[in-house]
């Protein structure tokens, strides 16, 4: 079982460049999430999706866009990268019920110069 797979694992961008982070899950989970993790701040929710074709904003959505065209994939886009977006990005997925845990990928470490 692959679980939740994130690509790429590392990336360095220049300010103003764009890129897409890919998250793929093979557990048939309905819900998928993108978080960013910064030192001392825990995980902050960027965007989430409760099903194919649906997305919603989390706590810190500015500067990011997402798409979920297929149930197993959740894409996070940075249209014009800024140094403040330097972070570790985590994707997670879960089944719908309240008492189901989230399953996480191993993260994408993104540096913006």
């Amino acid at each position: 079982n692959a679980g939740v797979t994130q690509t790429p694992k590392f990336r360095v961008l220049k300010t103003g460049q764009s890129m897409t982070l890919l998250c793929a899950q093979d557990m048939n989970h309905e819900y998928m999430y993108w978080y960013r993790q910064d030192p001392g701040m825990g995980l902050r929710l960027i965007h989430y999706s409760v099903g194919e074709g649906t997305t919603a904003k989390g706590e810190v959505p500015d500067g990011y866009n997402v798409s979920r065209l297929k149930k197993q994939n959740f894409l996070l886009g940075l249209e014009s990268a800024a140094p403040s977006q330097t972070s570790v990005y985590f994707c997670a997925s879960k089944y719908r019920p309240f008492d189901q845990p989230q399953h996480f990928g191993d993260g994408t470490r993104l540096s913006i110069l």
Partner: protein, 110 residues
């Protein structure tokens, strides 16, 4: 804003000792979950406790929940070097969103 806040921020213990960390939260919850994060890895789910439960055990883990005080604690007994990690509590209010605290970093010394 973060719902849960862990205390202490960091904890250093000797192998074989117990480690206790606490989580406080602000609003009513459906359940509370604890996760572990090893360096350079994603979070891994450890244990879930529902709002109508007061205590739960899983192996060397013991979790308590006091909804009147809006707090939870995670106890790791007989710690091992492999328990060195960051631990996060996450509160669940609805079926789609978890709110994570900033975490407790635990170092187990050999």
């Amino acid at each position: 804003s973060q719902q849960g806040e862990e205390d202490p921020q960091a904890l250093s213990i000797q192998e074989g000792e117990n480690a206790t960390m606490n989580c406080s939260y602000k609003t009513s919850i459906n359940n509370l979950q604890w996760y572990r994060q090893n360096s350079g890895r994603g979070l891994v789910h450890l244990i879930l406790i529902r709002s109508n439960e007061r205590e739960k055990h899983s192996g060397r883990l013991r979790v308590t929940l006091d909804t009147s005080k809006k707090s939870s604690s995670l106890l790791i007994t007989a710690s091992r070097a492999a328990d060195t990690a960051s631990y996060f509590c996450a509160t669940v209010v609805n079926d789609y969103k978890l709110s994570f605290g900033a975490g407790t970093t635990v170092t187990v010394r050999a």
